[in-house]
């Protein structure tokens, strides 16, 4: 089954291009025919000339980034985007969610829907959609939300997994918190699950793990794409009976997002190091999984600075608080192991009921996928997709800052101009406070 990716805005189109590049590379390097066939079918379509074309629709309100992404793809020599699979305008969305959602989205609905329809028709079977977007700007967030709504209307039974990039806490877009609040509140009603990367976290990975001195957005995008590759590349699931899963999005959603109040997913991967160091390192599953488990429960999204003191609190001491002694409670976890000796990897640590919310049995909460094919250059590679409290603090910060700004009504006239009212804002704030409250009580 095939996945149709919709790249929205500057971030979505930049990340999407890196993602396809990594997926294509991985498929070629694997030298395992079933793996690369499965991967190609999932993300690419063959053409009469035999080259690989990404199953993607590129949408932006200005042309430069799409042009760049399409050119970069062609330069790779291994894959490209469909020549007509893109839609752009000239003026941009002005970082205004209301402009994206209320004006530009509806204005260009037919054109975008047509591109998606064409891509869907080229799939033998549709596994679902992955809209890739940021939440801080105007196009990814506003137009992206509108497009997600259209997808939900037209394909009501298809899985929609939104990939979201959350901005740095400081200094990208001044109205980023407004745009983020509006996006998240709306997507909660439309999306099956949201897979989130935060620029702040990825930045730390670049500086502390990958030793990159001068970090650019291209570095950030590559790390995001790499982690996404670890999630989306073919794997053998409990339901797939010895073949690579044909329903990756459906299985991911049912593994992780079993309750409509809990849809925020975070990703961690181990190991993570500069490519030059990989050849000199040895990996063992016990060590990798031990680190990954501690990263999960102490809410460190990378292998450096893990707090080994954090332990699950005894059940009698569980209280309602945003962070209980730094312990991160999970609703559900999906562990994907790739590479050598996956069948012998011991994953019991992730089945411990103490790390989960008490109202879900750990057998239901934990899922394990495997692939004997190594990913990228790593002999052993583990990806953990978590539905946990990991995103609670960043979400709370986002809502707090947006609320403070809203209290003074700063910038609100810019949204009212495009038909988003104060009531719409209040509705979005209310929805997200509900989400924050739900995640905050996960340990009870």
């Amino acid at each position: 089954m095939s996945v149709v990716t919709i790249q929205l805005g500057q971030c979505g189109n930049q990340v999407g291009q890196e993602l396809f590049d990594i997926i294509c590379n991985d498929a070629e390097q694997s030298q395992r025919k079933t793996y690369s066939t499965s991967c190609s079918a999932r993300f690419f379509r063959p053409t009469s000339k035999g080259d690989l074309v990404a199953r993607a629709v590129l949408v932006d309100m200005e042309p430069k980034v799409i042009n760049q992404s399409m050119n970069k793809a062609v330069k790779s020599g291994r894959w490209r985007y469909g020549e007509d699979s893109h839609f752009s305008q000239k003026q941009g969305s002005g970082n205004n969610w209301a402009n994206g959602y209320c004006v530009l989205g509806p204005r260009h609905k037919d054109a975008v829907e047509e591109l998606v329809r064409q891509e869907v028709e080229r799939c033998d079977a549709l596994a679902g959609f992955i809209p890739v977007m940021s939440v801080a700007g105007g196009t990814g967030s506003g137009v992206g939300t509108y497009v997600t709504q259209c997808l939900r209307d037209i394909y009501p039974t298809s899985f929609i997994l939104n990939h979201l990039t959350w901005p740095y806490g400081t200094g990208e877009v001044i109205v980023q918190n407004y745009n983020s609040v509006l996006t998240l509140a709306h997507l909660y009603q439309l999306s099956d699950a949201m897979l989130v990367h935060e620029n702040d976290t990825v930045h730390k990975i670049c500086s502390q793990l990958l030793n990159i001195k001068q970090i650019s957005f291209s570095d950030i995008n590559m790390v995001i794409a790499h982690q996404l590759g670890g999630v989306l590349q073919p794997a053998l699931t409990p339901d797939s009976y010895g073949v690579y899963s044909r329903n990756p999005l459906g299985e991911l959603v049912s593994a992780l997002a079993c309750h409509p109040e809990y849809k925020l997913l975070s990703v961690s991967t181990v190991p993570q190091m500069p490519s030059s160091s990989i050849a000199f390192s040895t990996f063992s599953w016990p060590a990798l999984l031990k680190h990954l488990r501690q990263m999960l429960i102490s809410n460190t999204r990378m292998e450096v600075g893990i707090d080994w003191q954090v332990r699950p609190p005894p059940i009698s001491e569980r209280t309602r608080s945003l962070t209980q002694g730094g312990f991160n409670t999970s609703l559900a976890n999906l562990l994907i192991l790739r590479g050598k000796d996956v069948y012998s990897a011991e994953t019991g640590g992730f089945e411990d009921p103490a790390i989960y919310t008490p109202w879900l049995r750990s057998e239901e909460a934990f899922s394990l996928w495997k692939s004997p094919v190594s990913f990228d250059k790593y002999e052993k590679f583990a990806t953990l997709v978590s539905n946990s409290q990991a995103l609670l603090r960043p979400l709370d910060d986002m809502v707090r800052k947006a609320w403070n700004m809203f209290a003074s009504r700063a910038y609100i006239h810019q949204y009212i101009k495009y038909n988003i009212s104060e009531e719409d804002f209040l509705d979005s704030f209310t929805s997200l406070e509900q989400v924050i409250s739900s995640y905050g009580q996960l340990q009870c």
């Binding site: 500057q10 002005g94 200094g171 877009v173 001068q214 609320w403 704030f429």
Partner: protein, 342 residues
Amino acid sequence: MFTLQCGKQRSCKSTGSGLGTRVLSLLEEEFPDVCRIVTAVYPSAEDDVITSPYNTVLAMQELTEHADCVLPVENQSLLDILNKIDAMSYGTKLGPGVKRNNCVTSGGSRLSGAQKPFDAMNNIVANLLLNITSSTRFEGSLNMDLNEIAMNLVPFPRLHYLVPSLTPLYSLADVSIPTKRLDQMFSDAFSKDHQLIRANLKHSLFLASALMVRGDVHMSDLRRNIERLRSSLPFVSWNQEGWKTGLCSVPPVGHSHSMLALSNNTCVKATFMELRDSFTKLYKKKAHLHHYLHVDGMEQSIFSEALSSLTGLIEDYHHLDVSKSRLQRDTPRLRIATGSSS
């Protein structure tokens, strides 16, 4: 985008301010959804057009009502910048792209008495426009379009006067001076020497600021410098992280990097108060008023409305200034009823 002059340049007295603002309101009528960013040249104190305060205040009402953003530029600041470039380039060899008899580097830039090098001054404003449109014209890792400037820098409709500052200054003169360290460029952007109006950014309150960086600058450099500068720049309580950033890959010709900072800052209040004072000095005595009232359609009420608009604007900025010293706590959040039992 268009530029209008409120004061005197060459022999145009009030064409810029009068006709220019009329065009502005026509543009708003015809193209209401298109962003209107106005570069407005304000007169310097020694402006020899006596009625320039009238022209300026009358124009300002139009700018406040009909522009989305205004980038005020003062002739005196442009002159000061030229003097600095002059001092830097004296004795330095010319850069490879510089033409002979470039009015900045040739003797013609030695400023004397009443002669003002308007070409060179206009060149600085032209550079401002080049920088502000760079992200629309060239690619970059974080594009910033013109309509994003208005969106991020204008929290309240009338408070849309943005202080521009350009670094490095010598990029305007094509002279070959060793590139300063990158971090210096960021510090310079908030120093008075680089602003295009005379005002004290650091001692007033920032409502929002935009940094449009061009050239070989990494996002981590940008972030590091924002972190470094934040503590010395007071921002309004509800916008503590009020930074809008853009990264354009292509630098100006002959340079490795440059930056334009646009700041929505209450320091403009001082400029407007001076303007109001010069206006009032004339208006109290009704000096030269008859020249205006002779024109069909002009009435005295237009003057009093313009004055009241300016006064209102000054009060709005003042109101925000006063909040600077107040300790602001987080606004209490919405409470959600939790139905679950513990």
